[in-house]
Amino acid sequence: MAMTRKQRRLSMIGGAGAVLAVAAGLILYALKDEIVFFQSPSDVAEHTVPHGQRIRLGGLVKDGSIDRQGETVRFVVTDGAADLSATYTGILPDLFREGQGVVAEGTVGNDGIFHADTVLAKHDENYMPKEVVEALKARGEWQMGADNPAAKGAPAADKTSQAETPSAPASRTN
């Protein structure tokens, strides 16, 4: 079958593009553990991170776990499957609160507690006007940290399952 020069050029570019895409895919696959920004409490539990090695720990701040003592804050990071206690001294970002995604950088100490020296809040992909949330809260239909029930029409999540909402950072680690 005779190809015109245009067809030959197009198929050459297509072939080169496919080879490049496969190569890039293999590289990214090989580096997937390096590219992830943080590890979940489950990852930390599975891999038994050596004491003193710096990692980023990501998950949700467990409900009712925040304990402030002056400038020092103790809280529990959870991904629904595993929990890890963390402690941090310093100024926290505005979005830091219970049920909110968080990425903390630091080391796991000998006491088994994660000592964070940097805490970043993770914003989820949900947007909602303040007034609507206040109205929902007034009617008792608002679930903090869960996907917004009004926008999604989803059944209200209970306290235990809200750590596994799609917006939770830890649920996308695999």
Binding site: I13, V36, F37, P93, D147
Partner: protein
């Protein structure tokens, strides 16, 4: 050869001459409406407060940064496969605009990140891949300026642009493939936007405004590039004509050193 190639660009100049006033008007109208909607008429977010308003420019910048690169990639195909005379003009004109949108995307994202995340910058997959896009744009602009002959420059840049296009799907899916500090997509996702209409409408109007702005700037720079190339061709012709006249009148033959010098350089 050059004259035949000018046929299409001439039609393009005529068309854009009529189109551009309308595009400028559409840009102004949608931009004013979008800015009013996003800065005044839209509600504050329940988590971010007024900081959410950065999103109305950050997200369109990000979309157009990728859109401009997609335009360049399609134009590169046009250059390499069909050798369309306008395609490398289009690719060259889009590069600085895309670079500017990418830069603004990075800056506005950084300004949002500090109050929301607590940091200006992190090396997560989304932020890093967008930085790579910005560097790609700079590399492409540099390559355009390195090779003087527009046809040869167009081919080299087209190859580089197509190789770099691999980065665009990586940017889009970085938030799904790896865990990142950057949140996943709110608009272009499988189960519909996770944003109420009171915020989605201002965002889409702003996106439309910046798309019109991109088209306006792109057509303007394409026109400039076409005219710049015409001047280049005219100078070359004039220089070779003058050299021909000079040889004819003096009867002197041009030596090898003389014919090696480029006529365009002699005149610039």
């Amino acid at each position: 050869m050059a004259l035949i190639d000018l046929a299409n660009p001439t039609r393009f100049l005529r068309l854009t001459d009529r189109l551009l006033p309308w595009l400028v008007g559409a840009t102004v109208v949608t931009m004013v409406a979008g800015l009013y909607l996003s800065l005044y008429a839209s509600p504050e977010d329940y988590q971010q407060g007024a900081t959410v308003r950065i999103m109305y420019i950050h997200v369109p910048f990000a979309w157009l940064a990728m859109f401009a690169y997609t335009v360049m990639a399609l134009a590169s195909l046009g250059t390499l496969v069909w050798k369309h005379p306008l395609s490398d003009v289009s690719a060259k004109a889009a590069a600085p605009i895309g670079a500017a949108f990418t830069f603004l995307c990075l800056v506005t994202g950084s300004l949002w990140g500090k109050p929301m995340w607590g940091t200006w910058w992190v090396w997560d997959a989304r932020l890093t891949s967008v930085l790579v896009l910005f560097i790609m744009y700079l590399g492409i602009i540099a390559l355009w300026r390195t090779i003087e002959d527009p046809i040869r420059a167009g081919k080299a840049v087209a190859v580089l642009t197509l190789v770099g296009y691999l980065n665009v799907p990586i940017i889009k899916f970085s938030v799904d493939w790896w865990n990142t500090l950057h949140q996943p997509a709110s608009i272009m996702r499988m189960d519909g936007p996770s944003m109420p209409p009171s915020m989605l409408v201002p965002l889409l109007v702003m996106a439309l405004a910046f798309t019109f702005l991109f088209m306006t700037l792109h057509f303007m720079t394409m026109r400039s590039e076409i005219l710049r190339r015409r001047i280049r061709t005219m100078r070359q012709r004039e220089a070779s004509g003058a050299a021909g006249v000079a040889t004819a009148t003096t009867g002197a033959r041009p030596g090898p050193a003389h014919s090696d010098t480029k006529p365009a350089e002699a005149h610039s």
